[in-house]
Symmetry: C2
Subunit: 266 residues, 2 copies
């Protein structure tokens, strides 16, 4: 560390959330690499290794002990009440504190069924409560959110080949497959998602490819606070009507589907 280092070496705080059952897995190696790389660059890193923590994946009534047992559990309302009253369960409160502490959140996971493993989905379901990740009163993107301005990076491993997630790939473009995370979670809560980092063919990875991948991942980590985030449009930027539909003619002609919600390049 060097106190007179230029701006890009400013010390930042990074929360790394990782979700693989095997401590010797590729995902674990990538998480260890990222933590080491970021610490060497002078940053602070906290790791939430969900399997090691035996993270409770399922939202249930035990999460809301203050709710009367005979009352119908309305999850969003109960979660908002518990959040605003500071009565969340200790595990959830601890993770919220880490997210609040962080300048960037990295999610490291194997793509299972084209999305997160259940244990990580359960981290999202339980930690991003109403009153923390969004709401209660404001429309999305919840600009008063606890999370505004944080950088967000998905680092994912996929068994499939890269071409199958390419522009014309049969599984859909990776950005579209990850839309529920990139736009649904990160953008919705005010965070600034970067392009995902992906390792394809992850089930059969020769050592030299892993070394090359680490170099590429290192460059992405170096750009965590300087790379341009995905330019999703803002709800409050004048592009949407009151029913949250994109206004006619705002998009580049010929654009459709999820691309509608990305600002055109200048």
């Amino acid at each position: 560390m060097n106190d007179t280092a230029p701006q890009q070496h400013q010390q930042k705080k990074i929360l790394l959330v990782t979700a693989h059952p095997e401590p010797r897995s590729l995902n674990a190696s990538l998480a260890a690499f990222a933590a080491e790389h970021l610490r060497t660059a002078g940053h602070e890193v906290q790791v939430s290794d969900l399997y090691a923590m035996k993270w409770k994946a399922t939202v249930d009534a035990d999460d809301f002990p203050d709710e009367a047992g005979d009352r119908r559990l309305e999850v969003m309302a109960a979660s908002e009440r518990a959040t605003l009253a500071g009565r969340l369960s200790a595990d959830v409160a601890a993770e919220q504190e880490k997210v609040r502490w962080s300048d960037a959140v990295i999610l490291q996971f194997p793509m299972w069924w084209f999305s997160m493993p259940a244990i990580l989905k359960g981290w999202v379901d339980r930690v991003f409560t109403a009153g923390f990740g969004y709401g209660p009163a404001l429309p999305p993107p919840y600009t008063g959110s606890a999370l505004e301005g944080r950088r967000a990076l998905v680092s994912v491993t996929a068994g499939a080949r890269e071409s199958s997630f390419s522009d014309r790939g049969i599984h859909g473009r990776l950005a579209d497959v990850l839309h529920p995370v990139q736009h649904g979670l990160f953008w919705f809560t005010g965070m600034a998602p970067l392009e995902p980092f992906v390792m394809y063919n992850a089930n059969a990875l020769p050592e030299e490819r892993f070394e090359a991948a680490k170099r590429e991942y290192g460059r992405r980590l170096d750009g965590l606070f300087t790379d341009e985030p995905v330019p999703f449009r803002s709800l409050t930027g004048g592009d949407y009507d009151h029913d949250m539909r994109l206004l006619p003619g705002v998009e580049t002609p010929g654009t459709s589907g999820l691309d509608l919600h990305i600002r055109p390049h200048n």
Copy 2:
């Protein structure tokens, strides 16, 4: 029931998987309505109420007791070995048996963070093993799959308004948001996904809207075996190259993104 009923009243078997922690929730009501409606029409219904079953959401080493404890757990390989050897854990084996038994699978869930609740994602992660839902040897769509030909329907509740999931809606079109389920899970395993059934504004639902929604859902359930599935292209239909990319010029001009993978209307 009437043995001489026309083809559309033929008795079928339906697996209804439901995932809400509150037995008096809208999701529970919709599941109960669907089960009753389908049984009244002469069908057999099995219900997997994941919260009531205390479904284990997380894939971990306990799922694979035959794997040597000191061996690095490779989830896909371990799951394939356990499936082919008939050594899956009892809860997973029972759910696979229900899926095999069924002519249609319905997933009933509240949309949490633009996808399934963790407990349902954990049902997918654990039940759709290699050797059951796909593979081991064939490319997707795994036409020799245990699941080929089954109908698949998502019935989802969403707090947001319908316009926000419309063609130009800020969250993306519902079909695109559900792509990891519709194409990633259902299509990939050989099933025939129908258009999702959705209830919007689900956090504030007056009784008369619930009655109207049940009538609409009833019509969708009546069409479970006769409605046209989403016309996703087939991997083996000549539309894709060997790298699983859509061949140039196959699509309707101007189509892009996830729409590329839907066959044009005739």
